[in-house]
């Protein structure tokens, strides 16, 4: 589920909770989560880390690393309330921080690269600590439980954001644990994903060539790295990155005008190993909007609707009708056609020639090579 108010107006976290609650039977209580954007207006330029700790020792170790790398403005427990059905919650803390300027300078990296390396470091080094989110003016709230339980546990109704994504999990391949719930995030990015990618084997081998290690073994991780590769490293515009991941059929390409056919053939031939094949509906949230993408023959449900300046996507229309009872428009996005929402006045965190230069871009997984090194040390 994803909802975005393109005018930039803020919605209470109650709305995504309600949207997820009506889709309760799409999960089994083993994972639910949300990410909200624009929720920390008082700290718009601070990196906000949402942390999960299994014990105090993990907290101490992780905080030592954070302290070493950042100027910590605020460190506080996540506000939560007891909720029936939520047990075994880890220690949940959040931090608003800025990177130490001298370290940034020393390492000659962008703030984003720097943050990613710290995220990877904490996840790999500290047993029992997990970074749930690490972007600016955004945060992920996730855990083991039904999404509405998780939402209430985190008192989401007290937050207001212009963009929300939500997820209800029915784990099949990997066990349910707090860190493993969706959304999968890094920096400003969050991904929620309904489905299973049958091309996982070749997608991950393809990513390995570019230095990514798919250590979690989940489809969501693969999707996130592919977006990173296409958007950040290969500088494709968002629309075309989506076309590379869920390309048109050859019969459709053959009918396009020559310029478009050449572009699409090239995308398919070059990015064939990255094509996400199999059933999926993905919502990618970021500071500035969201994009929803369905697989190329629409094996998973995805409904979209617009009501005024609000754009919403969900697996079921019931979720949409809960939030917007009488939408202006409801439609089934075509297979492989991205639905893109852009908040007015906000820069897209993607670049093409139309947008910013690579160094100024803030999006996910900016230092995969470093991440791999850290993991080797940890082993």
């Amino acid at each position: 589920m994803g909802i975005c108010d393109e005018s930039g107006a803020l919605m209470s976290g109650e709305e995504p909770i309600l949207a997820m609650a009506v889709q309760r039977d799409r999960g089994n209580g083993l994972g639910g989560g949300f990410a909200g954007y624009g929720i920390y207006p008082e700290f718009p330029d601070h990196f906000c880390f949402h942390m999960m700790y299994h014990d105090l020792k993990a907290k101490e170790e992780a905080e030592a690393i954070l302290d070493q790398h950042f100027l910590i403005e605020v460190a506080e427990p996540m506000p939560t309330r007891p909720v029936k059905g939520i047990t075994d919650a880890p220690l949940l803390w959040r931090y608003f921080m800025t990177p130490h300027a001298h370290l940034l300078e020393e390492r000659e990296v962008t703030a984003e690269d720097y943050v990613v390396s710290v995220v990877m470091l904490v996840n790999a080094r500290v047993d029992g600590a997990f970074v749930a989110s690490s972007g600016k003016n955004m945060g992920a709230f996730k855990g083991v439980g039904y999404p509405e339980e998780i939402g209430h546990y985190f008192r989401l109704e007290e937050y207001a954001g212009h963009t929300w994504v939500g997820h209800n999990r029915f784990p099949t391949n990997t066990p349910g644990w707090w860190g493993g719930a969706h959304p999968f995030t890094l920096l400003d990015w969050s991904i929620v994903h309904n489905g299973e990618i049958s091309s996982y084997g070749i997608n991950s081998r393809y990513l390995e060539q570019f230095g990514y290690t798919c250590s979690l073994g989940t489809d969501t991780e693969v999707a996130a790295y592919l977006f990173d590769l296409l958007l950040r490293r290969h500088k494709l515009p968002l629309e075309l990155a989506c076309k590379a991941l869920a390309p048109a059929l050859w019969t459709e390409i053959d009918r396009m005008d020559p310029e478009q056919a050449a572009l699409m053939s090239s995308l398919r031939a070059v990015y064939g190993p990255g094509m996400l094949n199999g059933p999926f509906a993905i919502v990618l949230g970021f500071n500035g909007g969201m994009v929803a993408l369905n697989d190329r023959i629409k094996l998973r449900p995805l409904v979209a609707a617009r009501s005024g300046s609000k754009l919403m996507v969900a697996s079921e229309e019931s979720a949409i009708r809960t939030i917007m009872p009488e939408p202006d428009d409801v439609w089934m996005p075509k297979a492989g056609e991205p639905v893109i929402a852009r908040v007015k006045g906000m820069d897209l965190p993607f670049h093409s020639q139309l947008h910013a230069s690579p160094a100024e871009i803030s999006c996910a997984v900016t230092a995969v090579e470093t991440a791999c090194e850290i993991e080797e040390v940890a082993v």
């Binding site: 070749i202 090239s266 070059v270 023959i297």
Partner: protein, 503 residues
């Protein structure tokens, strides 16, 4: 003259009660097995078990049996080993043979199984959903550069990156078999079928007969160490050019076409004198290093206006390192030929004991190119005993872009794998130049059978993709996660990058 110790391998049995005494068997047998004296009299020792006479006997009264002479058991000295010694003691020569390695090496493809989808990721119905097999053979760029097209969309910034690619409707092409080793009618059948299937045939090292010019867009023209038939025009005509370095059936040695097979047509196509043996040197005499190969690749590109240029090599121990060098030397594709690949003629000792299996070579090369980050810069063709669509699917999962089939195409045209192509007397009219035999293949009939074969395998590939829950062949290519081994040792599994079943 001394009596030979080598007894006939087969017994030709005729049920004379049923025999019409029509003499057709006499006329059908390319090896002159039969005399006719009121009834057909077979000379067993000449029989190759090609089943031509069996197939065409109107009375169905011929059977070919194994000559089951008892030998004293000896696991060390097989009957074949004893016979080989007797033959060589009699002749003093190298034992010649043909077709692929028949020895009982492990068949790795048969110990690999494919995956299928259930519930969480559904299988896809190929009868109702699109199932794409289209493949581009050649070098791809590493990324796609785009720019605004002025109307709110995007267009390619620069070239498509697919100039040096050949479009294939299905990832199966015909393996190189030269005109000379096979008949012109076989070449015509292959060329017509390649055109109808949207794929490629390959001239092998024997040049391109002018009857095939109309099909030139579906032909790979080969440049081998003998340079037979190579001219600027020849290079211009091909859809792609292939430098043949090695052949899986006989790594390290060149082709040998006996003078008897060089008739007027073969002679003019190969540009060599009629009746002279056509012996390719073992190496290219202008390639003694990777730099030399690079120069040849670029010379051919210059001469052809920058067509797709590939390099065919035999699968041997250090194939991965060689392949990496070849990609860096500028080859747009690599053709890997495993040690079970066929041949029109080869010394038996070479065919049976040199080279490595295609499964291993393919896995090693694909992984090496990925490790070096240059996999996108080339396509891999895998060949050397692809016997079915299942083999093709497994090869693709191991990392092949395309598979090439040779023996299977000849089987489609009637070949019964009698391993006697080098005699030039093929009863089926395939590996011979005798006009009375070659006319047994009607190109139209041959093309239809080959087209059927390619279509059948392509449909089966689509079924497999559907079961795997993907709808485009690029999602299977290199996806070793979709393979499991049943009964392969750990080391082999590791080299193949395949887990054992159950994991």
């Amino acid at each position: 003259m001394q009596q030979t110790f080598v007894q006939p391998e087969f017994r030709v049995k005729i049920d004379y009660d049923k025999c019409h005494k029509c003499g057709r068997c006499v006329q059908q047998c390319g090896w002159g097995v039969y005399d006719f004296n009121e009834r057909p009299i077979p000379h067993d020792e000449k029989c190759r078990a090609c089943h031509r006479c069996v197939t065409y006997c109107p009375a169905h009264c011929i059977t070919i049996e194994k000559n089951t002479l008892a030998f004293r058991d000896n696991d060390n000295w097989s009957t074949d080993a004893r016979k080989a010694v007797w033959k060589q003691a009699e002749t003093g020569g190298v034992l010649l043979t043909s077709m692929g390695n028949p020895r009982p090496y492990e068949r790795i493809f048969d110990k690999l199984v494919l995956d299928a989808c259930q519930v969480t990721n559904p299988s896809i119905d190929p009868l109702r959903e699109p199932m794409e097999l289209r493949t581009y053979l050649g070098r791809k760029s590493d990324s796609v550069a785009v720019e605004p097209n002025g109307t709110g969309g995007f267009k390619l910034a620069g070239s498509t990156g697919l100039e040096r690619n050949v479009k294939l409707d299905t990832p199966i092409i015909f393996a190189p078999m030269s005109y000379g080793s096979v008949s012109l009618n076989v070449h015509r059948s292959l060329a017509m079928a390649a055109e109808r299937c949207g794929i490629l045939m390959n001239t092998g090292e024997g040049g391109l007969h002018e009857d095939l010019y109309p099909y030139q867009d579906n032909v790979i023209v080969q440049v081998a160490s003998g340079r037979f038939g190579v001219s600027p025009e020849y290079l211009q005509r091909g859809a792609a050019i292939e430098i043949k370095i090695g052949q899986g059936a006989k790594p390290g040695i060149g082709g040998h076409l006996p003078g008897e097979k060089i008739d007027r047509e073969v002679s003019s196509t190969r540009m060599i004198p009629q009746g002279s043996d056509a012996i390719s040197p073992a190496p290219h005499h202008d390639i003694y290093s990777i730099e030399d190969l690079r120069q040849l690749i670029y010379a051919l590109k210059e001469a052809s206006g920058y067509k797709t240029v590939g390099v065919k090599i035999a699968a041997v121990h250090n194939v991965a390192a060689i392949a990496s060098g070849i990609v860096r030397a500028g080859a747009d594709y690599i053709y890997l030929d495993g040690f079970k690949g066929g041949t029109g003629a080869a010394p038996q000792v070479i065919r049976d004991h040199i080279g490595i299996p295609i499964e291993i070579a393919l896995a090693a090369v694909d992984q090496r190119l990925r490790d070096e980050g240059i996999r996108n810069q080339t396509s891999i063709i895998a060949a050397g005993s692809i016997r079915s669509s299942a083999d093709a699917a497994k090869a693709i999962a191991l990392g092949a872009d395309v598979v090439a089939i040779g023996t299977a195409t000849l089987l489609a045209l009637g070949c019964h794998l009698c391993q006697s192509c080098h005699t030039g007397k093929c009863s089926w009219g395939i590996t011979t130049q005798k006009p009375e035999l070659t006319r047994r293949i009607d190109p139209e009939w041959g093309a239809e059978r080959l087209t059927n074969l390619i279509h059948a395998w392509s449909h089966e590939l689509q079924e497999i993709l559907g079961a795997l829950g993907v709808n485009a062949v690029e999602s299977l290519r290199g996806s070793r996660e979709r393979l499991r081994s049943v009964g392969l040792d750990e080391q082999t599994c590791r080299i193949l990058g395949v887990k054992p079943a159950g994991l």
